[in-house]
Amino acid sequence: MKAVRRILESVLLLAPLAASPAQGQTWYSLTYQPSLPLGNTQDFTDNFGWRGVGFDFKKPVKENLTLGLSFGWHVFDQQTDEVISAFGADISGDQFRYVNSWPVLANISYFFGTQGRPRPFVAANVGTYIMEHRLDIGLYSIHETNWHFGFAPELGFAFPIRPDLAAVLNGRYNYALSAGSVDDQSYVTFGLGVAWSRGF
């Protein structure tokens, strides 16, 4: 956790030091984020995650370059009756498995193109993923919540709809390192939403 806090602080503290030719510019975006589980996340919950939202804030620090924060909530679930082995026994029954992921990430983004035109952008996100893994079977529930350090490269497009408002499409590969007894987790989010993009 200390490492995560240090990175977040570093990113935020660096912001005022950067040149800021774009005073007054801000970016708030709200996106619906369905997600595709990968790796260990997929092993636990195989279904495509249709439940997800994200909120992003960006502030320019140089021309075309922003620093920001990103928050999200992504839900994966799967119902299965496969047999699990635990406590020296084989156990079957309807299992209800859930992964809830709440990423809290700092990011740096670079926007291509010019203001008022469709603008592709790339971003690097780093921070923490608060992840809850839960398995319900019968009257029993096994759950664990951990703070995972993680990162997420991102590609996106902003299409101006009118001044200060843009449609946003983005894709983000989320990778969270292992934490507690939970192995590393990964998934891809596909974002579709709007951005209040003053000055972009």
Partner: protein, 216 residues
């Protein structure tokens, strides 16, 4: 953020409501049924030819459940016995009618347990906590101490246990017969009586399906 941003944040709240943390939770009692099996992996089950099984389900009360035990409903005994016998026959086991004559290789005993479980949840409302915290320093009469919110959940649970005992390895000195396979079929004693046969059949199917080593 512009005004319409607030509107859209409200919409986000609606989306968030739709994105419940734990969607698709169980909707029927049958979805809460669980089957657990365990076996002695040093045993070659293919070498077992014959078994004896009593013609009734034995009601037992575990020592830890004396105070909460319920009468076991024997209405489904025959269904359970027939279901287990059918599965064992399919696997190649021959049922002997009794201990008379050649001794069987194993004994299969089916037991039934019914207990009432009670869970108590206690939580403290935050306003009561702070009211209590400030008194008597800064807050006078009228500030409540707050009381914990207590909720009680009570439910009846039934378990059918199928045990297989290896008579060939009975120890006459220690007077012990090793159990080589056990299956526990556990479920809520709730729901429609019409569903009970289906739930029992499904549980027996699961017990044998997850024990492939029993096959000859």
């Amino acid at each position: 953020m512009p005004r319409y941003g607030i509107v859209l944040l409200g919409l986000t709240g609606l989306v968030a409501l739709g994105t419940a943390c734990h969607p698709d939770e169980p909707t029927s009692v049958a979805e809460l049924d669980v089957v657990a099996t365990a076996h002695d992996d040093t045993v070659n089950f293919a070498s077992i030819g014959t078994y004896v099984m009593p013609d009734s389900v034995v009601e037992i009360v575990p020592p830890e459940s004396v105070a909460t035990a319920l009468p076991f409903n024997h209405a489904y005994d025959q269904l359970i016995l027939d279901g287990v016998a059918t599965k064992l026959a399919e696997l190649g086991y021959t049922r002997l009618p009794s201990f008379a004559g050649a001794p069987p290789d194993v004994v299969v005993l089916i037991k039934g347990v019914a207990v009432q479980n009670t869970d108590v949840y206690v939580s403290y409302p935050w306003w009561g906590y702070w009211g209590w915290y400030g008194w008597p320093c800064c807050y006078g009469p009228g500030w409540g101490a707050g009381y914990p919110v207590v909720s009680v959940s009570q439910y009846d649970v039934g378990t059918i246990a199928i045990d297989m005992w290896d008579l060939r390895r009975a120890d006459p000195v220690a007077m012990q017969i090793p159990a080589i396979w056990t299956a526990a079929l556990r479920g809520l004693l709730e729901g429609s009586a019409v569903d009970a046969p289906f739930r029992i059949d499904q549980a027996i199917d699961r017990a044998f399906a997850q024990s492939p080593y029993l096959a000859h």
